[in-house]
Symmetry: C2
Subunit: 444 residues, 2 copies
């Protein structure tokens, strides 16, 4: 794996903004430096970064990074190949990005407001200067929804899409529903937890969602960005009793951005919406985001994940970085390597035997209904270090006097589980082979 760095110099990043997201970008680039080289064909390094204050506490190490309070210095630095803009807001971000594009430098941004308002101009400027603006991080945080629509669903005519694209609003709606609390009450809690800004207007009045919907619709339908045309309604007027009545009727209230194409035009709207509780979107809770896209060939597809946060946003920014670097390093034909990393970077990892796998287990035992049966089984399990999480014991069948016992175990190694089962099956009270299924929590 050492050949990469020897061949090509690193791509040098200039970072505009060293707040939460900027720190996330630095951390992800450092932590995954090897994996990123394997994918992109050369390493990616932040060499210059700007921040409003240099004495602020950072969430990332800063070794090897030149710091400045003047972001234009970063843009103008001739050693900087690519600009990453994570300062947010319209100005000075707009001027900085325009200057970078005029210099022919690719720009990667998480700035949804700027793209929604000025994207048409910025994209033209990039095109004219032979460079690009990448903005995966501007919509739905770490979910690769721009790529999914723009490339993954390129075979389709997109008919409509609907998304939970503001995590703050979804967090508030989830708490209003689960705890029966008022909007104002939950908003205060969300602010305390850092899920809502001190000035929550952009989130709770739907403006942030409208920015994102503007971008999604433009890509889905191949039309210009039209933020001013989006009908925008937030959740601030929503009352707890309506959340409750909706549930009684079998619905959840979600704050959705909806774009739909008709013969005579396009609908663009952001508002609280009742959706049937069985829909997957209705089950996206808390700060999570999800976008449902309907293509004429594929039908519905859904994309779910973290819509905000330092590292989820960094995930999208670094994916854009890898895309940009791949267009510069790989031959055009092999822009994306077959197996994600360059052919000479494929690593032959050992495959672990099933005996070493650790999972939880579901066991169903069929036993004779007589005293002491359960005690014998419990002792064998304890001897093998098997911990029981839950148990169901049913009444015995009248004809056979056989009793089903269902157990759920805590995670343990499969070899040990199998040894315990073998021991249990030797008991003469056990009437049939033990049914064994694996259990996964699917959490972190």
């Amino acid at each position: 794996m050492s050949s990469i760095k020897d061949e090509l110099p690193p791509v040098r990043i200039g970072l505009l903004g060293l707040g939460t997201v900027g720190g996330g970008v630095v951390n992800v680039l450092k932590r995954n430096v090897l994996d990123l080289s394997r994918r992109a064909g050369r390493s990616i390094e932040v060499i210059h970064a700007s921040a409003r204050r240099l004495d602020a506490v950072r969430i990332c190490p800063l070794d090897g990074i030149l710091l400045t309070t003047n972001p234009m210095d970063v843009v103008e630095n001739p050693d900087v190949d690519v600009i990453v803009e994570v300062m947010g807001g319209m100005q000075p971000a707009s001027s900085l990005i325009r200057r970078a594009l005029a210099l022919g430098k690719p720009v990667i941004t998480a700035n949804k407001a700027l793209i929604a308002h000025e994207g048409n101009e910025l994209f033209a400027l990039a095109q004219n200067n032979g460079t690009v603006v990448a903005f995966e991080a501007a919509v739905a945080g770490g979910i690769p929804i721009i790529k999914a629509i723009r490339e993954g669903l390129a075979g389709n005519r997109i008919e409509w899409l609907a998304g939970i694209i503001n995590g703050t609003s979804n967090f508030i709606l989830t708490a209003m529903r689960d705890e029966g609390r008022s909007f104002a009450d939950v908003l205060a809690q969300a602010q305390a937890l850092g899920y809502a800004e001190a000035d929550p207007t952009f989130d709770v009045e739907g403006i942030d969602a409208a920015h994102k919907l503007t971008i999604l619709a433009a890509i889905a339908f191949g039309m210009p960005l039209k933020f001013d045309a989006v009908y925008t309604e937030g959740i601030s007027q929503l009352q707890t009793e309506d959340v409750r009545y909706a549930r009684e009727l079998g619905y959840q209230i979600k704050h959705l951005g909806i774009a739909r194409r008709f013969e005579n035009g396009v609908e663009l709207r952001v508002h609280p919406t009742l959706i049937p509780e069985r829909r997957i979107l209705a089950n996206v809770d808390g700060v999570k985001n999800a976008v449902l896209v309907w293509g004429d060939a594929v039908g519905p597809t859904l994309y779910y994940g973290a819509g905000a946060g330092a590292e989820p946003t960094a995930s999208a920014i670094v994916a854009d970085l890898v895309d940009v670097v791949r267009t510069r390093t790989a031959d055009p034909t092999h822009r994306v390597p077959h197996l994600a990393v360059l052919p000479d970077q494929i690593t032959d990892l050992p495959i672990l035997p099933m005996s070493e796998v650790e999972t939880g287990y579901y066991l169903r035992l069929t036993v004779r209904d007589q005293p002491g049966v359960l005690a014998n089984i419990a002792r064998i399990l304890a001897d093998h270090g098997v911990n029981i999480e839950a148990m169901i014991q049913k009444e015995a069948s009248i004809e056979t006097a056989h009793l089903p016992i269902v157990l759920l175990t805590h995670p343990l190694q499969e070899a040990r589980m199998n040894a315990a089962i073998t021991a249990i099956e030797t008991l003469d009270t056990v009437q049939a082979p033990v049914v064994r299924l694996r259990v996964e929590s699917l959490a972190g």
Copy 2:
């Protein structure tokens, strides 16, 4: 939009296989020909296709397509630029693809068995001949999961993934759960519906899922394809009572492919798995597929959609086609246009006013508790053509004698709904502004 075709000749496709999926590819390419040109920079046409029998009934029109029973003729045809292989099976698909790659032609395939078994060789062959094998359609049908992992999550170290990647098994498990029927019974029904093959071994014994897991794991971890190392267990031994007991414990049984990275190696396993019922994966039912991917930066993301079928599979194949064509037409910098279509192909679509939007409505009225109130409201709604789908009427508040009435309407135009609300608010029995929320079914 006429400029594209004038500039560059169409990309000419040779199609190996004219069954369900092959027909879907022809249909999608024809139906979306304009949108595809806008995205790819030139049009894409099938000019030569092979089928086992030429007199078979096709699901697609065949005008302009040269037909043959000899697939090698298609591969060798010097007018064919790109090969799409949708015949399935190991041979002759393998020989045909190898020949196409030797000729330097890009190959797009839906053949998961072939990629899982021979992908390592095929990718090397492609690389050596300066061309590519694209295989988005090989895993999870129309869900762009290969692209999501290989590009969209390129910033992450992928820790693990777990997927429902065999629709037949998921259909059977869903029916076993919902209808309490046996595996054999549901399998017979799935075969009758066309969701299961006459020989269901590949699906119900987990082999198909193991093919797909092999591919996902290789891309997620940058390792070679290792089909033989996958632990594979299907659902054919699963008993209805275990599905029932799992539910009692708060779990669903799903047939999962799981790949997980550890310090000392990788787990690769396919087996029925209990998962907590609140997890989104637990709520993926019927023939649908979904893959949950855990990246170190982004955390969990989930991708959901149709895992099989003519047009969902065609969706993935055509997305690969657009990718391949973009590498040939666009300058490398602008391989993927900012707004998905070429800059001169952006269409300025009109945005429809909210008054023309059609949705369902949730209405909450606060009325005085007296005879005839509901009749008056119902008459106004009927006069405006508003149809009621559901209603909740609660008891009046003791202090105010105010009564909440909650209504759900069928979809109608917002202008008409607003007119009805204005009329209702003039009634002197109506004590407060009508609360109006929109309802979306999110179905097709």
